[in-house]
Amino acid sequence: MRFIHIFTTTILCTLALAATAQAKHTLSGSIRDAKTGEELIGAIISVKELPNTGAASNAYGFYSLTLPDGHYTLVGHYVGYTDYIREVDLSASQTIDINLAPAAVEIKQVEVSARRTDDNVKQAQMSATKLDIKELEKVPVIFGEKDILKTIQLLPGVKSAGEGNSGFYVRGGGADQNLILLDEALVYNASHLLGFFSTFNNDALKDATLYKGNMPAEFGGKLSSVLDIKMKDGNDKTYSVGGGIGIIASRLYVEGPIVKDKGSFIITGRRTYADIFTKLSKDTTINKSKLYFYDINAKANYRVGKKDRLFLSGYFGRDKFGLGTTFGIDYGNVTTTLRWNHVVNDRIFSNLSAIYNNFSWKVSINSNGVDILINSIIQDMGLKEDLEYFLDTKNKIKFGGQSTFRIAVPGEVTVNTPLFKPVDLSRSYGWENAIYAQHEITLWQKVSLNYGLRVSSFTVTGPGKNYYFHDNGQPTDTSLLKLGQFGKTYVNPEPRLSVSYNFKKSMSLKAAYSRNTQNIHLLSNTTTSSPTDRWIMTSNNVRPEIADQVSAGYFLNFMHDMFEVSVEGYYKWMQNQIDYIPNAQLTANETVESQLVYGNGRAYGGEFFIKKRAGKWTGWISYTLSRTERRFTQVNNNTWFPARYDRTHDVAVVLMWDITPRINVSASWVYQTGNAVTYAAGKYQVNGQWVPYYPLRNHDRFPPYHRLDIGATFVLKKHKMWEHDLNVSFYNVYARQNPYQINFISDVDNTGVSKTQQISLFRIVPSLTYNFKFTYVKPQK
C-alpha cells in the first residue's frame, strides 16, 4: 500500500505544478470521417501558431484542447485524410466538431508530408503499434481471408503459433497471455477452424492497437500483450452494402444511419462453406459431416443530446465440426458491450461499459449407442468506468476501475449409459477487480512521461470446493465455500512507467517499466491451442502470474515522416508460470490442479523495424533477435530451458506496390529459426516394442521456417455508388516444405529400421476473392 501513497503524492505534486492558471479556454468536440461519420481514433489536432501544441482524439473520437485566449489556426490531420484547416478566435470555450475528408487516391502521392505524423516518436508510450486496417487488406494471407491476427505476426516481437495459425506469442509470452479485446470485451479463443482463421472479420473492424508490454495502466489482466480492437460504428450518413466471395468463405455487411447524423448501425457476417463440397460426396460419413464456422458482428449507436452517446455492440461466432453422426464439436465466443459515453464538461470525458463475454464448447460422441455430451463454458460479466481529464495541452489524466465476475464450467459430462459415472467437476467462481490512474505529462518541451498505477485483485468466490495440495499431488485439505462466500484474495499493485526524450526533431529515446498480472490460465498440453483446452482461475494453489518488463528504444522518422525506424530492447521476468507433470490428465479431472507444476520464465531480445509509410512503394522489414526460457524444479534438473516457441531469429519483409491506382501487388517473406523441440536420442525395447528415449526437454531445433506469399488486387471499378475488386494471392509461392510435425517411427517397408518423418501442412495455396461495395447516394436535385 506504500506504493499507492507515493503514487498519490506524485500525482498531486505534478498537478499543482501544472495549475499555474492564466486566462485559458477549451476547444472540444469530435473528430469524424466526413463521408461516413465514423469517429477517428488518434487523429491529431494541432495549432499552427503554437508549435508542439496539440491534442489527439481518444477512443471515441473526442478531443479537448485548452489554450490561452488568442487567434489560432487549427489543423486536423489523420493518415489517409486531407488536412482540415480552420481559424478560431478563442475568447470562450467552444465546441468544434471536425470532419476530415478521406483523401482521393490521386492526391495521395502529392501531399505526403502533411498527413504523416511523428506521434510514434514523440509519445512516451513505447512498444505499441497502431494497425492500419486498410493497409492490412493489402498484405497477402492464406486462403485470401484478410486477418488481423496473421498480419500482426509480421511485426517485430510477435511470433506466429505455427503454420497458418492465428495464435501468436508476444515477447516470450504464451498464447493465453494476450489480452485480446473486441470493443473492451475479452475474447477467450480468437480462432476458428482450430487456428487457421481468426475470429475477426476485417469488414467489421475500425481500429486496432497492439501493446507488446509496457501497456498503460488502463489495461490489465493478461501478462504479455494487449490487442485492443474496436469495431466500426457504421455510416450515419447513408446506407451501403458490401461483401466478398472467396474460396473458403463469403462475407456480407450492411451499414447505415438509424437517424441521419445521430445514430447508425453496422452488421457484418461471414461463413465458410467447405461443407457444401462434403455434401456432394456419396460416402455417408463424409456427406453427413459438418465443417464450417460463421461469425456475426453487430453494432449500433445513438447520440442522445449533445453530451451523451450510447453504443451496443456484439460478436457471435461458432465453429461446427461433425463427423457423420458419431462425433461433433461446436465452439465459439459471444461478446456484448453496452457503452455510455458522457461528456461531463469540455475537459472531462467519461465512458461506462457493461460487458458480457463467454467462450463455450460442446462435444458430442455417439458410438455404438452410447451418447456422451460434454459441455464447457467460461463467462465474464463486468462493469468498467474510465474517466479522461484533459487538463491542458501538457497534462492528461485517466483513471477508472473495472469489476468482473467470472464463472467457469470446466466440461460437464452427461452420458446416457451406465458405463460411465458422472465426474464431479465443480464450477469455479472468481471476482476480479482493478482500479487505476495514469498521468501523461510533457515536461520542458522535450520530455514526455506516462506513469500510472493499477491495483488489481482476485477473490476466489463461492460456491465451490478448493483443494490444498502438497508436493505429491494428493489433496491434503478441502475448503468449502458457500454461495456468496469469499475465499482467498490476492492483491497486486502494478506500476507502469514510460518516458521519452525527444532530443532532436523526429528522434527520441524511450524507456519503460511495467508489471502485469494474470488470474486466468489456459491449460493445454499440446502445442497449438485446441478449443477444448481448459481455462482455470487463480485459486488456493494456483497463484496469479506476474511479469515485470523493462524496455528501452530508439525511434526515428525521416524524410518528412515517410520512413519510420525503431530499435527496441526488452527484458522480461515471469513468475508463477504453469506447466504440467508428465502424462498430465487435464480433461475430466476434478483435481486438475494436482497435475500442475509452477516455475519461472525469462525473455529478452532486440527488435528492429524499418517502415516506408507513403509513396507508391510501401512496406516494412522487421527483425527480432530473442530468447525465451523457462525453469521448473521438475524439468531438466531445474535448469533454464528454451520455451518451445523460442526462435532466435525472426524476420519479416512486407512490400506493397501501387502500380496504378487500380492495381496493387504485395509480397511478404518470413524466416524463423525452428521451434525448440525434444528429439529422440535413443531407443529401447520393452514387451517386444521399440520405444524412443528422450533426453532433456527442448534441446533440439526444428529446421528453419521460411515462406513467401504474394498477392495482387485489381480494382475493377471505383465509383461513388459502386465499387468492386478482385484479389488473387498465393501462399508459400516457392512451396517450401516447412516442418509442422516430425514423427519418430519404425519404417513400415524395412523391418527393424527407425526413421524420422516430417509432416508439412501446405505447399502452394492459391486463392481468389471478389469484393464489392454498393453505397446509396441520393440523386442530386
Binding site: 482450430l194 460422441i365 508428465p582 535413443g682 531407443k683 533440439d700 519418430f744 529400421v753 495455396v765
Partner: protein
Amino acid sequence: MKRLTILAMIAALITTACRKDIHLNLQNASGLLVIEGNISDQSGPYLVQLSKTVTFYDVDTVVPVSGATVTIADDAGGYDSLRELTPGSYYTTTLSGAVGRTYHMHVHTEGKDYDASSTMQPPVAIDSIGINGSIFSGNPRGFIQFTDPAGIVNYYRTILYLHQYIDSTTTDFHHTRQHKIAVVNDRLNDGLIIQSTVRADYDIEKGDTLQVELDAIEKPVYDYWYTINNSTTSSQTAAPANPPSNISNGALGYFCAYSATYSKHVVYDGNIRFHRID
C-alpha cells in the same frame, strides 16, 4: 490424440499434407540400462530382461546386459536368485507368484544397484470380448468388457494376441502376432462395466482367432504404458515424455507384478459383430 486426428482431417480436407523422410542430427543416448521385469499369478518361470539403449537410427537390435545379479524377494520370506539362460534374460527358478504379495526386485550390474517393488493385485474376470467398428475408421477393432470392482481404484493392462488365419489352400497354419499393450483405469467408471478397445497394428479378418489377456496392475505400470501409448512418437506433443520408471537409480523400464485372466474367440465374420463368451 483425438484433437490431432481432427486437425489431420481438416488439413486433409483443405489441402494435402505432405510427408517426407528426413535425416536429423540426433543426440546420442546409447548405453543406458533398461530393465523389464514381470511376475504374475500364472505359473513361472518369470522373466527379467536387461538391455541397453541404442541410438535412434541404429537397426533394432537388443543389446543384452549379461553377468548381472538379479534377485526377487517377496514379503512372505520367499527369495529367488534368477538364472541367465540366454544373454540378458534372467529367469526365476522356484518362485510362484501369489495375489496380494509384494515383490522386490534387485539388480546389480556394472557396479550399480537397482531396486523396484510391486504388489500383485487381485484378478478381474473378463465378461466378453469381441470386435467393433471404431469411431474414426471403419475397420473393426477388438474390444474387451469386464466388471470393475467397486470402491477401489483399479488399473488394467490388456494385451491382444491375434492368431491370424492364413488361407488354407496355400499354407495351413495359424500365425500368432502379439499386439500392443493398452491400459485402462476406472477413473470414470468405478464399479461399472468397462468396455475397452484393445490395440492392434493389423486389421482383424474373418477366421482370425482373437485372444485377449486382462492384467490387474498398479498405478506406476499403468502410467508407464499410458505414456508410451500417448506421447512418444511425435514431436508435435508439447513435451514428449519418457515413460516414468518405477526402478531406482535411473534405470529405464519397469517392474510389474500382475494377475491375469484370458479369453479367446474365433472371428467368424469380418463385419461388426459382438461375440459373447459362454
